[in-house]
Symmetry: C2
Subunit: 422 residues, 2 copies
């Protein structure tokens, strides 16, 4: 859902690969490029995905050269016989190959480190189109190319996401940034704990905002993100518009907002723990280690993440965290008293300031009438006491685990911020 | 990389939406449709993604009608002012609107259940193009349309994945299936532990296979998947071709293959543990719980996954797993002796039959000349002894963790299968 409108210069993407067009792999490159190019104030008008067919690729490139200021190709630059982007470029730009000694040197160095000879197929990578500027690729064996025709500039990048992103950021983005005459800025406001409908109800009327910015509502099962975009005469003017809109939402959504832009919930929790010099320990049953995994996605998390237990069995809950057997007998492993005992136990055993625990039925099996699949108890304990919340998630196993981990991290955030999780 | 070729009838997809082209959301519909249409023996030649611009959408549809037998549009059928697919269809197919009473009845029933009146914007959904056959949508408020021009058939579907899939399976797939005269089958062979170049070197010449099947090589940082496809006269004939090709690869790659089609490495490990009535425990430092998370993605994993420890700190390694302080002092926490002591310790403490441990430097900080970022030791212990392997991963923090978890699960698989991980 997008509210409002915006205008900008124009780019096209051409995605090349049988794997993509036949659904063998999910194309994430287009989203990355769409987002980044948009952020640079250039509009993407078409994304065309085609297979490894020389005729079709050639037609697509020619059409794109007629329509767009910028063209970015991804894929088909590998060293095997079906990687044909380079030969199509020779045809479209009417030129031959030349040897690039810098690429040759880089390949040699790359294989020397691994103690291997360059395979014959790979060595052809130092043959490049005569009319191309070379985009040197430190992350892989295929160099990228920059070529011009009329007023259009074409970049050909490898399809491997890591290499594509590297060359885009190193060569393409700086060049694009210099060409837009307006500044296009975005800000993402990240919320969790409200449905999309519930969120917009809480926000209320916001039409006045749309005179200056565009608003997008991006729901997912882990929360709703609000995207504010602005096309402004200057960065300063744009930032002011974004700040105004952000304040508008912050006033109305306060505690549901955990971060902005690239910030993740685990980073926010980490920042809060570090700020208050607190340590955290985890006791996970149905999430199986996912909370620990998320916490340790943050570099430096060893400063505040003390330790974690994956206590899948009743035995482990008792032996490791001192959960009393009678609690499990009387209430079952998936219950409020057990969740609370796990959170208290993990603090006692590890000496952490805050303990968070999850016990639930991730599914698809293991549910009953009284305790359905998705039933999950999450408890947070610290010196001020223990609080437990009950959730019933309604997705598949994987998503139930993800929702539980998200809710657990969010409850830790609210506890540290001194807000109730209820 | 795809080897071999196949011929089939031809379809095009047109994906409509500002959210998609500007990277706000990831388009998963195209992958779904690409895969399904391919499986029906029809080739997808182009996927064109465009924004909510009437002129651009019209051009795209006209071009697709010239090139393809089947055209599928997704998106732009909602009831808000930026959903303009319907008005573009009126223009391209030169017709007006009519009211469809069945759609009107369905909308009424839908809102009656919710105890609400139909909003005015939604009620326009029962106005449909005169020349369209209606695709009745039980999962949402927007009906789809089927329209023909010359030999081309166009389907216009909503962009919401649930509704799109529903209408595709209900109306489009049966019609496409009736038109393909051949059966298109696939099989995925999943490998880990070899680079793409290393894998194909080990496979050796395979051109003879290409007389009957198409082969795709799909590398990722967790391993290479080989996809075998066949276009056959019958399912039986197709399965025989796939079996032959699968045996060919199984002979040459044996221990590097961990599964096929949808099977995951954690499922394979689970199947092997269950088969041999063995239990597993994990001791994770740098992976932070990711191995436990992956193991518990499998329903029923509580049968064999005993317990896990996230021992990020030296303290936790000593207190929880009995790693001797002098090992950490002498060799450091990221070392072979500590990895081995962790794997041994987790077996001793939990009584599990197999213990797997990971200790490494995920990055981006924490590396040194002697111990670079990415250095990771993974140990597996069981009654037959302890084995440790050293890896140097060269990605970012998140990917280093994923590669370490993949390698750890693979070493457990090899240990149970009685093969060395060296």
């Amino acid at each position: 859902m997008i509210f409002g409108d915006s205008k900008a210069p124009c780019a096209e993407l051409v995605v090349i690969g049988d794997e993509v067009i036949s659904g063998l792999i999910l194309d994430r490159n287009s989203q990355y490029l769409g987002e980044r190019i948009h952020a640079l104030g250039i509009e993407v008008s078409h994304i065309t995905t085609v297979g490894d067919s020389a005729v079709i690729i050639e037609d697509c490139i020619k059409l794109a050269l007629q329509r767009a200021d910028w063209i970015i190709l991804t894929g088909g630059l590998g060293a095997t016989h079906d990687d044909i982007t380079k030969s199509v470029l020779l045809k479209v730009f009417e030129c031959g190959l030349k040897k690039d000694t810098k690429v040759a040197g880089m390949l040699e160095a790359m294989f020397q480190i691994r103690g291997r000879k360059i395979p014959e197929s790979v060595s052809s990578q130092c043959e490049v189109p005569e009319k191309a500027e070379i985009l040197y690729n430190e992350k892989g064996t295929a160099p990228g190319f920059k070529m011009s025709k009329g007023k259009s500039i074409l970049f050909s990048l490898p399809g491997v996401p890591l290499e594509m992103e590297h060359l885009f950021e190193k060569y393409v983005a700086p060049e694009m940034a210099g060409h837009g005459n307006k500044v296009f800025l975005h800000r993402l406001i990240k919320t969790t704990g409200l449905s999309e409908a519930g969120l917009w109800e809480k926000v209320g009327p916001f039409e006045a905002l749309l005179e200056k910015v565009t608003i997008a509502s991006l729901p997912s099962y882990l929360g709703v993100r609000i995207r504010i975009s602005v096309l402004a005469e200057s960065r300063q003017e744009g930032e002011l518009c974004l700040n105004d809109a952000e304040s508008f939402f912050a006033e109305r959504l306060s505690r549901y907002i955990y971060g902005k832009d690239e910030e993740t919930l685990e980073e926010k929790v980490g920042d809060l723990l570090r700020e208050k010099s607190l340590t955290l320990a985890t006791a996970e049953s149905c999430t199986g280690g996912l909370i620990g995994h998320r916490l340790t996605q943050v570099s430096g998390s060893s400063d505040y993440y003390k330790e974690g237990f994956v206590v899948y069995s009743n035995e482990a809950k008792m032996d490791r965290l001192g959960v009393e057997p009678r609690l499990i007998e009387e209430f079952g492993a998936v219950s409020e008293p057990v969740a609370e005992a796990m959170a208290q136990g993990v603090c006692r055993v590890t000496g952490a300031d805050i303990g968070v625990s999850v016990t639930g039925i991730a599914g698809p099996s293991g549910g009953s009438d009284l305790k359905p699949v998705g039933l999950t108890y999450i408890a947070v304990h610290d010196s001020s006491g223990t609080q437990c919340r009950k959730f019933i998630f309604t997705h598949d196993r994987g998503r139930n685990k993800e929702r539980a981990a998200q809710a657990a991290l969010n409850l830790v955030r609210l506890r540290i911020q001194g807000e109730s999780g209820a």
